[in-house]
């Protein structure tokens, strides 16, 4: 752990934006998977 600094919060850069985009893509993929599992009633293969 780095020592607590008192500097101001860094400004969001492009990588931060990329992380939000990545989160959005993951959420979208999860929604697709949930919809797909709805079709099967959430029945898991035994």
């Amino acid at each position: 752990m780095s020592p607590q600094s008192y500097e101001s919060d860094p400004q969001p850069d492009v990588y931060t934006g990329l992380l939000f985009v990545s989160v959005a893509a993951l959420i979208t993929g999860c929604v697709f998977l949930i919809l797909e599992l709805n079709n099967y009633g959430w029945a898991m293969p035994s």
């Binding site: 990588y15 992380l19 990545s22 979208t28 993929g29 697709f32 998977l33 797909e36 079709n39 009633g41």
Partner: protein, 286 residues
């Protein structure tokens, strides 16, 4: 931020997009395998039901067909028996038919023979009718002759009665004469009847043998007539010969000895027209 952190972020972004893309693709092109499974399961159940129904129907149909086959077998057996019986009956009928054909042939033959016999009988009847007519005519003629003969018999009866009456008168006269001859001592039977010679019957014969005397002239001849022909000793016969269709008178002979079938005679008039030879004719008719 370090360079590694930046790279990891970029990689995370890329992978996140890949995850989203794959999940979207799965959702976009997915197929509901459960629904299809249910549909297929229902279809399988339906098909099983149909299969069971079909099996039941098949079994029923099979039983029915088996029953029909059994019935058909029984019917075939019955038909076979009927066919055998019919065959037996047919053979018997054929035999009867052959017998009837033979009987018909025999009857036809008998009919032909009967027809021929009927024709023959008819012809015979015609002949018999003709003969009956001829016999009827002959019977009429015979009846006519019988009537004539009856008339003749009646006339001869009358004549016989007259002759009997005359014979009775002659017997009475003869008895009277015999009584007179006896009274005068005369035997009439020996003297009178002994000199009487009955005339010869009309007969014809042949010279069988000629006997010559010392001079070579015929003296005795043997002829083919005798006592059976009515000749007696003393009868005189004429001798003749037939030359070229003309009768040549030769002479006379006199019977001196007789036998039943031949006689010996003396030659009386010799050689008037020839010498008596064997095979010359003798007769009492001249």
């Amino acid at each position: 931020m370090t360079f590694l952190g930046k790279v990891l972020i970029v990689v995370q972004v890329v992978l996140s997009f890949c995850f989203m893309a794959f999940a979207g693709a799965v959702f976009a092109v997915h197929q509901n395998w459960r629904a299809q499974f249910n549909t297929a399961d229902q279809m399988v159940d339906t098909l099983r039901g149909e299969l069971d129904t079909a099996r039941g129907e098949f079994q029923a149909e099979r039983d029915q067909i088996q029953q029909q086959i059994d019935d058909a077998d029984a019917e075939a057996t019955l038909q076979g028996n009927n066919a055998r019986q019919a065959d037996t009956l047919l053979q018997a009928a054929n035999r009867d038919n052959q017998l009837l054909a033979q009987e018909i042939s025999r009857l036809e033959g008998e009919q032909e023979r009967a027809a021929l016999e009927a024709n023959f009988r008819q012809e015979e009847a015609e002949q018999q009718r003709t003969e009956n007519l001829a016999q009827q005519a002959a019977l009429d003629a015979i009846q006519t002759e019988q009537r004539t003969a009856n008339d003749t018999i009646f006339a001869q009866g009358v004549e016989l009665a007259e002759l009997q009456r005359r014979f009775t008168d002659l017997q009475e006269t003869s008895a009277h004469y015999l009584a007179l001859l006896n009274q005068n001592g005369i035997d009439p039977l020996t003297r009178l009847l002994g000199d009487i010679l009955a005339p010869p019957p009309p007969v014809d014969g042949r010279i069988m043998e000629v006997s010559l005397d010392e001079a070579g002239r015929p003296k005795l001849v043997q002829i083919s007539l005798g006592e059976d022909d009515g000749l007696q000793d003393g009868h005189v016969l004429d001798v003749y010969r037939i030359v070229n269709g003309e009768t040549l008178y030769i002479g006379q002979i006199k019977i001196t000895s007789t036998l039943p079938d031949r006689a010996v005679a003396d030659v009386l008039n010799e050689n008037r027209n020839g010498i008596i030879e064997v095979a010359d004719y003798v007769t009492t008719k001249l």
